[in-house]
Subunit: 614 residues, 2 copies
């Protein structure tokens, strides 16, 4: 199976059209402005010296690279000469300052010149990985190959150092990313060394101990506690983990290595079954930005980095090529509508690094007499830039290339994974178009042209259960769902399908294993998770209760321009003196919910997804 | 009103008789053995030198003092020459090694000889306070005044240094305790300087900043953030806080200082209304062993030190002298049957410093890839000794002097606060005796002799609500309850009262403000809080649900010899794949509960008080 590339997909309207508009028109420039202000672009000049402001950082090159990549994807569909000029200038500086031997790094060529490839955790290969992805994207969008040529020279050096000489102080990257980038590069170059180098980094990982004794974290943090094929559980830094797993899936796909594929499947199952927030977030702890233990899904301290959600989309979309299994499309949809877009403000200018599932101000300054030891909690407001600004440009490139995740094909089948108004050039003949107000409305109109005898496989989201209908050329289709897909054989060159999913509000329960969510529910409408903010409700959101048979009404928040759900709920009120008593008392309360992705767009307040069930 | 002293109270049977037996026969010796092994008694020899094991610690004198005090209380009722000899030997060493100027401290006379009174947080005055309490107790029990005379010499020195010369590096103690001890001393000596010194430490507290800039905690940790009369909220280290408040109440009682009494009332109200666990535990955070913010009552990280519970009994029993208010007796009862005795194993040999309300093993090693940063949780097993062993001897003295908290009197009234089988010499004429299997049974038989025309005031526990009966001389008494007390005027010289409280299992809810306990209940029977342990139930205690209209049976655990409650409850079982779904499914489950005080007396497992309500 192969995924249809976003360059063959035009998003034509609705929810994601608006998001892409904001992404191209506002977010790209907003990130540039902040990166420029903070010296990230100037760092490419390699003229920083001690005492100057804006000392370059080891991962700044990757920030620039992701931004260029995102802009390249925007340029595929838009003529934006100002952004292109910024890219050209940055690339000129990269070319100018690349070392004679091919090395390029705006930190290690400027700040610590003698530290090249001496510390595994210093992100050099990670930065190169992002530069490769940017170079490929930029060449495809503009035809300009200057950055790609720089990367090729640098990859030659890396091949020599890591594969021929084994002369670096380490053997595999501390922050994975270059693996998947090298596979992409190989698709462009067909240079066998590029695939070989990617495979080398995968194969050597975890084969020997690479973390010094007494280091602040252990090998699991870097996913190098075991050879990758022996890893059964998702461990450590969650962004690094899913980048690695994506690279592993790429190598499995290109080489047919079933042992790698098996590992990928087990790892993704571990995430889905044990370590995934309802928002699609992963990385339960800020300590190591890491996966923790199964079913440990704390809400107010959830780390759930935006980048980890993006990486999980990468991983799941790769797995979607191997297996017809709607869990992967469901997972991508869960991330897209929740933990991904919660990472950016509705105006496209400010970002969350972490995406907690609860904000409870009262607990944040609990150590009143030892304030310095107050616990760490995620930020409650999005920020225009932060020192580790990996997420904003990652978001930029994901949204700009969203078309990648909609459709895939094999010889006889077309698989439609995501319902997004779009026209899709499936191949030279087949055209597929969708028209929908999804997720606000469950109706999706699909027209498939020139696909006679092909089978169209439509993902039936798990949330809709059996509450959906499929009309094919006006007649009801009652085919059984298999592996989460509803299959329709096209009988002519024009097939018209009307899907209708149940996107009315539903209560969601956590598995009983998730101790922290016992006796609570999360409200969803279609794929969208809703939350309560204090500003719309009461200060103490834990006093609200949703009846199991709840009545509701739908509305729109004029200020936020998002749908809202009003639930006829209850509020627990005090019925005794002191802290403990033998009764509880409820009064009626209208509980007003907004989509989780829209939280923290007004004044600062508490927020809660998992509300008490009555 | 004055509290009847335990020397006039004999506990004659039932729950506390057994506890006092174990305390006298096992616990006193067990603590001695461990204190001896760890060098605490040898430290009194003042012969430790560098390189020797068991380096003395700044608070070891207080450990010895509390042990002597506890033994003295035991000696009041028991002939135990072995224990008395140990005390005599220890006291001989103290006398022998007391400095010429009266100073005595086994750390600062031996280890850091030039550091006397240089650091407010080094517990010198705290140790002296405990030595004074021990000296008074030991003189009363044995007639021997050697330790008292040592203390008087030391107090003379402290009076000169702190009150006359103001020559120490600080003005008030970092760890309060000496204040209440000095008031006790004044009762013995009638030396006005002793009351003056106590008042001095109270009055000067918080008047000037005593915490250096950049110290690890702020003034609130030491309750010196404000002059004590201006303090409205319980702050900082919880043991220190309630010792201070007890001293404030003592001074208020002796001097009639209403501003101090008002502060005490507000502070105790703050604890009862905002910061008290259902077990009577206080000190919500291990960081600073401190009070945190209102309604922040996390269960699995609760600090709730045994000593803090003891200190809160001291404070509440003092407030009981000022006000007829059953909240104070309720509070003492809550601590006695729960957070106090949870601090010792059923065999009396091992101790908890912290008394958490939940044990959830799964969350303890959540930072799998950064194990060193795993969160701090309380111990799950009682220990025979720990480096900071303040709790074991504190427990010893509290249990041995439990009779202090049963009864108080004023000119016309007798107040019966606690229902414990006992005979009480109220004054030279009046005798009151109780016979009961409380708390296992709600029936209490009371006989009052020679109290004609006095009013007997019986605390009606809040938990019993209106489900109780009072028979007076065989006739039903229907007097209204006022301030939580039921009043009976004795019409003759022999009054027979039969009380019957409802001690059947009840569900307890937290105030809606307590966010962490929403949608859960705690089961109590009379004053006893019950808990579920995994060993009796399922591994995942958060999958258990108690129906609001629950059926139950009562039984006895043969191994633990404690009552048990079996509830016909429900268990949440998985009804969907993955972590989230739109349904929940319950199956019947017998939920077996034991008294909280008996938890962790078998093999290590999870424990939970606040169970889901269905």
């Amino acid at each position: 199976m192969k995924n249809i590339d976003f360059t063959n997909v035009n998003i034509t309207g609705g929810f994601w059209y608006n998001r892409q508009e904001i992404n191209a028109k506002t977010t790209a420039q907003a990130i540039y402005d902040k990166f420029s202000e903070t010296g990230r672009f100037d760092a490419l000049k390699h003229d920083w010296t001690n005492g100057m402001p804006n000392k370059p950082h080891i991962f700044w090159d990757s920030d620039i690279a992701k931004w260029i990549e995102g802009v390249a994807y925007i340029l595929e569909k838009n003529d934006m000469p100002d952004l292109e000029e910024i890219c050209d200038n940055a690339i000129d500086l990269i070319e100018k300052n690349q070392a004679d031997d091919g090395y390029f790094n705006s930190y290690f060529q400027v700040v610590e010149k003698d530290k090249r490839f001496t510390n595994r955790d210093w992100h050099e290969l990670y930065c190169l990985g992002h530069l490769i992805e940017a170079a490929l994207a930029y060449k495809h969008a503009t035809g300009k190959d200057k950055l790609l040529n720089c990367c090729l020279r640098y990859v030659d050096l890396v091949y020599r150092i890591f594969l021929v000489e084994d002369s670096a102080a380490f053997h595999t990257p501390g922050h994975e990313e270059i693996e998947l980038a090298l596979v992409k590069l190989w698709h462009e170059t067909h240079d066998a060394r590029h695939l070989e180098l990617a495979k080398h980094f995968i194969d050597k990982r975890g084969v020997q101990k690479e973390v010094p004794e007494d280091y602040w974290c252990n090998d699991a943090y870097f996913q190098s506690h075991l050879p990758v094929r022996e890893q059964k559980t998702a461990e450590g830094h969650s962004v690094r983990a899913v980048y690695l797993y994506s690279g592993m899936a790429d190598i499995a796909f290109e080489t047919g290595d079933k042992t790698l594929l098996d590992a990928c499947k087990v790892l993704l199952d571990d995430i889905i079954e044990h370590k995934l927030y309802i928002t699609g977030g992963i990385g339960q702890s800020s300590v190591g930005e890491a996966f923790t233990v199964p079913f440990d899904l704390p809400n107010s301290t959830a780390y759930t980095e935006t980048c980890a959600g993006i990486g999980l989309i990468y991983f799941a979309s790769r797995m979607q090529k191997f297996f017809v299994d709607s869990r992967y499309g469901d997972l991508i949809e869960r991330i897209l509508y929740n933990g991904l877009i919660s990472g950016v403000s509705l105006d496209g200018r400010a970002f969350f690094y972490e995406n907690p599932l609860e904000i409870l101000h009262a607990e944040r300054e609990r150590n009143v007499s030892v304030p310095r030891q107050n616990p760490r909690f995620p930020a409650t407001r999005r920020s225009e830039v932060f020192s580790c600004s990996c997420c904003p440009p990652n978001f930029l490139r994901l949204i700009a290339s969203l078309g990648n995740y909609i459709c895939s094909v094999d010889d006889d089948n077309i698989y439609l994974h995501q319902y997004i108004s779009s026209s899709i050039k499936v191949d030279d003949e087949i055209l597929l178009s969708q028209k929908t107000d999804y997720p606000n409305n469950g109706r999706v109109e699909i027209i498939v042209k020139n696909a006679k005898n092909k089978t169209i496989n439509l993902r039936i989201p798990a949330y809709t259960k059996n509450n959906y209908s499929v009309l094919v050329d006006g007649g009801k289709d009652t085919e059984e769902v298999e592996n989460g897909y509803h299959s329709i054989k096209c009988k002519s060159d024009l097939t018209m399908i009307i899907l209708d999913f149940d996107v009315t509000p539903k209560l969601n329960f956590s598995s009983p294993d998730v101790w922290g969510n016992a006796n609570t529910v999360a409200v969803t409408a279609g794929p969208v998770v809703y939350c309560a903010e204090s500003i719309d409700n009461v200060e103490n959101l834990h006093s609200l209760y949703i009846p199991e048979n709840f009545e509701y009404s739908l509305s729109t928040d004029e200020e936020l321009d998002v749908p809202t759900i009003q639930i006829n709920g209850k509020i627990s009120v005090k019925s005794f003196d002191g802290l403990y008593g033998q009764s509880r008392k409820f009064e009626d309360a209208l509980i007003r919910l907004i989509p989780y992705y829209a939280f923290a767009n007004r004044e600062e307040c508490d927020m809660l997804i998992w509300l008490n069930i009555l």
